[in-house]
Every structure is written in C-alpha cells, then in structure tokens.
C-alpha cells in the first residue's frame, strides 16, 4: 500500500512537502546567510549585488530553487496557522493558500529576473 493518494490525504502530502522543502532549503539558507555576511561588509550597493548575480546562471538556479522551496514551505506553514486560528471552510482555506503560493512564486521570480537578467 502506498499512502498519500486521494483528497483525504492532503494533510499528509502537505506535511511531507513542508519537510522536504525544509531539507532542500537547509544548505541554501546557510549559503544565503554566508553570502549576506560577506556582502554586508562595508554596506550594500546595487552595483555590488548585480555584479555578482547578473548573467550568472548558477545564482539563477540557486535562487530559483530557493524561491520555490521557500514559497512551498511558507504557504504550507501559513495555511496551518490560518486553519488553527481562523478556521475557515476547507475550500476557502485552500484557495487562499493557493493564492499566497502564486503571489510568492511570482514576486520571487520577478526578484530573480531583476538581479540576474
């Protein structure tokens, strides 16, 4: 038997997806923080950031994966918080969560394009 099929297993799938996205992000967060500590020395400037990222497909991949994993992770977390404190009907809850996810991915993709292209 493989668990996880069918609409009633949504909670299980979201649980797994949230843990999986956390595991994916773990090394990325360390890289990101290391980068910040390195880059914040002597103040932040746009030219310094853009010189590092523009046209660099590795940074695009790094932050592409990061944005997707963060959007998944944050959406599932916010869905739980909304569910526990506001208790909206399931369809409304899932629609709001989907909207949050789409917004986060769109804003994240725009940010990556801004610094890479």
């Amino acid at each position: 038997m493989v668990l996880g099929r069918g609409a009633e297993m949504l909670d299980l799938r979201l649980y797994l997806l949230q843990r999986l996205s956390a595991m994916v992000m773990a090394p990325l967060v360390l890289g990101h923080i290391g980068m910040m500590i390195y880059a914040a020395q002597g103040g932040l400037t746009a030219s310094e950031i853009l010189a590092r990222t523009q046209g660099n497909q590795w940074w695009a991949l790094f932050y592409g994966v990061f944005v997707l994993a963060a959007a998944i992770h944050a959406t599932i977390g916010l869905r739980v918080v909304l569910h526990e404190y506001l208790k909206p009907p399931p369809r409304l809850l899932n629609s709001v969560a989907l909207a949050l996810f789409v917004c986060l991915v769109a804003l994240g993709a725009r940010a990556i394009m801004a610094v890479v292209l």
Binding site: A22, I37, Y38, G43, G77
Partner: protein
C-alpha cells in the same frame, strides 16, 4: 498576563518561537522580493532603497531578521531530527543549542554590518 504552566515549559516555548519566527519570515518574504524587484526598473531605484541600510534602526531590524532566520533554521533542524531520526531524550539540550547557534549567527552578521 501569566502563562499557564504547560506553556512555560522550554520545549513549548521553542515550539512557539518556531511558529512566530516562521510567521514573521513569511511576512518578510514578499517585502524582500519586492525590494530586489526594484532593480528591474533601474539599479538606482534599488540603490536608493539600500542606502536605508546605513540607518542604525534598519541595521538593528536586519540583525533581528537574521536572528529570526537562525532561530527558525536551527529550531527546524531539531524538529526534523525529532520527526525523521530515532527519538533522543536530550531535546532541551538541542533546543538550547539551537538558540545558541542562532545568537552566534546573528552576532556574525552584527560584526559584518558594523565592521
């Protein structure tokens, strides 16, 4: 207001820190994306925003953000260990370790932005 006894347990507080830091980071995320998106218009637009980071108040806020990220990251590692590794009875030690690691991380960032 005094917390009820079961909410004064260090591990219960660790769980609350995990939720509150996660919530704060989730709310910060779109703002972070929007600011970087300024570069799509022009590098100057991003620069004028980044000049705010010289403000001491903004620096304190940044360090607070790194602390929140550290708390959520190291606390999250403890929770992954709870859920995916055999049970360890040393949870309070690990939670204290996560706190220490998060503070260390934000201190590294503090040295970086003030250096």
């Amino acid at each position: 207001m005094k917390l009820p006894p079961h909410r004064r347990d260090p591990l219960r507080i660790a769980a609350a820190v995990q939720r509150l830091s996660g919530l704060a980071l989730a709310l910060f995320l779109p703002a972070h994306f929007l600011v970087l998106g300024l570069a799509i218009e022009s590098p100057e637009a991003l620069d004028s925003f980044l000049s705010l980071t010289q403000n001491p108040v903004v620096k304190v806020a940044e360090i607070g953000l790194v602390l929140l990220l550290g708390l959520h990251f190291f606390g999250g590692l403890r929770l992954l260990a709870v859920e995916f590794l055999p049970w360890s009875p040393r949870q309070k030690t690990y939670a204290a370790g996560a706190l220490a690691a998060a503070i260390t991380l934000s201190c590294c960032f503090l040295l970086s932005v003030t250096g």
